[in-house]
Symmetry: C2
Subunit: 471 residues, 2 copies
């Protein structure tokens, strides 16, 4: 495409009123504030450089690792510069899972054929090489049709691919991730000794994608590993051609007996009118031990830090307390989110809104909203204000793993609490998710910066119009 | 982000009627057809493999090169398989610009310091090394304030950066690309002997971005080269530190005296009801001679080929003739687009709509529409149907360089003619544009495929409801 000056026409500052002409949805000053937020983020943004540091100097950050603690300490030093009212670490006690020495998985009939594989997070080890014949199943449905003893001594290969025809890739993920999370215990019920799971990605490539798995109580714990989608296709073809396959797995992972004492990071700007009311926004600072946790969720971490910086630089004084939480342990236990919510309950803290960014540093398209219809409608009335920034999606949906516990029955303080999740374009997320390709180089600076500015704009608007969201 | 099954709720098949309850905007069958188009594109799409071939086997395709001709021949062989009514080449006569032997640009005071540079397309060469003192200007505004003779014997360095705060990067491009296109003639008026232009990208990196430039009649032609943004910053710093800089340029480019005889490719499916009415959709098959022309505009080429395949596989029989045109010479002359339009005029062909895809193979967000308000409103009424596929933007805007001539006064046959441009996310486009990084690896398969399916859906809907767009 070549020379095309003066051909696109867009008005960046949009003013409007609700169609009823009564409730003012937003005013001129909001248009100017949002413009200033985006200008600051795109012209002098810090998030990209911070992500570079987090990924390249600190690296991946699984709960219990030195890097995870280093990341919390680093983030604390960074946000102190943003004139926040307070910064503190909140103790979190979590399990400490360790991948251990070099792991491997191989087809081992005549000649060993190594597969690109890695243990799933939370898995037990194999206690030395474990060899067994493979039984392939198409997914959890087929697996559930076996009976006790049917899979005695076998390795079950769960090979359900993500459905590429789903436009939102999270839907494709949600539809088959049960094989990763619950496949081991289901197979163990029928006598299996281990499971291999097809990686959760829409690509066909050589990278195994790890992720959390859990064991059901009362069922024998068996080892679980992911293999790359290309290797899943190879193993499938091998079984088809040869009629059977024997696989050897050697996983050295384990869960430490002692608990890990680690931290969430909390930083806030006190509200000028209602300091006792809190708008919390956050991301998780832990990651898997593959790649650098760049999209998942380093991007979210630096976007949240940027929100604090943007409030300072643009000079926004919130009415309510706005609080950033960088949660520990989202990936394998969610102890950070749970701890934050239960402490908030103990302290009787009134959260009016919680926002999370944990879907990658891609071009933002809006927010999914876990709230009442009237609350969603109020947010959707900002569409004209926010669409010039690419934000058009304001619909009912999921908030996020870390903020979920705030709305649980046991923790909820305020029945008007809304949860929001930043909603970026999802097409590339599962290319990188939980694999060694989730690195800084695969994050685009502008897309990352737009996400931070979107978060800041939403925090600003909800803070200013908070009373529209209570009943 | 981890296990989140069953948390997003989206209805993929949406049925609706216009709010007036009179004009049916679309019906159930349209929802099903659009779903089938996207399923076919995402599950069995051919565009990604075709782009791989076009980029890696054929390579870049500047007008007049063997590769440009090979690409047309290859595309013809590909689309013959899609049961089209006819495929043919259309002769196009264009200028043939050649980059020539190795070019270089260096700061040459005490020690030579090579800059990452390349000639702009259309530039004359330097006729051996050309050394002169540099005068830096902030852009065309500053340049226009000089007087005749002020820049005698100087090399003018036009250093206006793209404005990163613009959300749509094409706006930032449009605002300063005049320095690339017209800077040489403007500088020549004041006596300059050559120009260096800051590359048109929002990144700071080492890649020079070429692009077209033109000479004003009656003004002496002087050589013009782009330098990378990083080198522009270096040169700027050098001048600031040292008070002056001398640069040597050695460009071996030239325009062939003889014209190039080359081709557009045209393939069509005859309409079942109104074969004499044409909906044309296209992209340009030529590219610059840097990188592989993957986003610009290999992506558009394979998306258009995919439209024909999708019509065949989904079994859509158009009422009007739908015609794919792969235009030659968009980058440096637009002779393909102009030739197509003037031949159409000669033949009295009635085009009811022209659609172009030439903004990169990124996640599609909608279409910009060069049409009447009532036509745009009709298209916008498909929003509910298309939003589940990420398409939300249907607004007044630019169609494209290649389809523009169809609507010019001299060529227009039908006053109802609408021009549409596919409107993908623009954040990453100028990272790659016209540089050696515009390669296959930087195109994402799903994003590319969604664009092809979006084009096919729009062609389908406009064909079915074509009579809503005439007055």
């Amino acid at each position: 495409m070549k020379f095309i000056s003066n051909v696109f026409v867009v008005a960046f500052v949009v003013l409007t009123f609700s169609t009823e002409g009564q409730n003012k949805v937003y005013d001129t000053s909001d248009s100017l504030v949002v413009r200033s937020i985006f200008d600051e983020a795109l012209l002098r943004g810090q998030s990209y450089n911070q992500l570079n540091y987090l990924c390249k100097v600190i690296g991946h950050r699984i709960t219990g690792s030195q890097q995870a603690d280093d990341a919390v300490e680093w983030a604390q030093q960074e946000v102190i510069r943003y004139n926040v009212s307070s910064v503190s670490k909140q103790s979190v006690i979590a399990n400490h899972w360790v991948r251990g020495d070099k792991e491997w998985v191989a087809i081992s009939e005549d000649v060993d054929l190594l597969l690109n594989a890695c243990a799933l997070g939370g898995s037990v080890g194999t206690d030395g090489p474990l060899q067994a014949q493979v039984v392939e199943v198409s997914g959890m449905d087929e697996l559930s049709r076996f009976k006790e003893g049917d899979l005695e001594g076998k390795i079950v290969f769960l090979n359900e691919p993500m459905d590429r025809s789903k436009i939102n890739t999270f839907h494709a993920y949600g539809a088959c991730v049960a094989q990763r999370y619950a496949g081991a215990s289901e197979a163990s019920k029928y006598g299996a000794v281990a499971v291999l799971v097809r990686s959760m990605t829409t690509l066909t490539d050589i990278h195994p994608h790890t992720g959390s798995m859990g064991y059901r109580e009362g069922v024998k714990k068996i080892p679980a590993a992911a293999i790359s989608t290309q290797d899943a296709d190879i193993l499938h073809g091998y079984i088809e051609d040869m009629g059977a396959a024997t696989v050897t797995m050697n996983l050295n992972c384990y869960t430490n007996n002692s608990k890990t004492y680690t931290h969430n990071l909390i930083a806030e700007i006190k509200g000028s009118e209602n300091p006792e009311q809190v708008i919390v926004f956050g991301a998780h600072i832990d990651s898997w031990d593959k790649g650098e946790g760049a999209h998942d969720d380093g991007a979210g971490v630096v976007q949240c830090m940027e929100v604090l910086r943007l409030f300072k630089e643009v000079g926004i004084k919130p009415k309510n307390t706005i609080r950033m939480v960088l949660y520990m342990n989202e990936e394998n236990g969610n102890k950070g989110g749970k701890t934050y919510a239960s402490r908030a309950k103990q302290n009787g803290e009134n959260h009016i809104c919680a926002i999370e960014t944990d879907r990658g540093g891609f071009s933002p398209r809006g927010f999914s909203i876990d709230g009442r219809e009237d609350q969603i409608a109020n947010i959707a009335e900002w569409t004209e204000l926010l669409e010039p920034y690419g934000l058009h999606y304001f619909k009912k949906g999921y908030g996020g793993v870390d903020i979920g516990p705030l709305k649980s029955e046991e923790n909820r303080v305020n029945n008007n609490l809304m949860l929001l999740g930043l909603y970026p374009d999802s097409q590339r997320y599962f290319d990188y998710h939980h694999s060694e390709t989730d690195v800084f180089e695969n994050v685009n600076q502008r897309e990352l910066e737009l996400g931070g500015a979107s978060m800041a704009s939403m925090v600003y608007l909800i803070d200013k119009y908070w009373d529209k969201f209570s009943q």
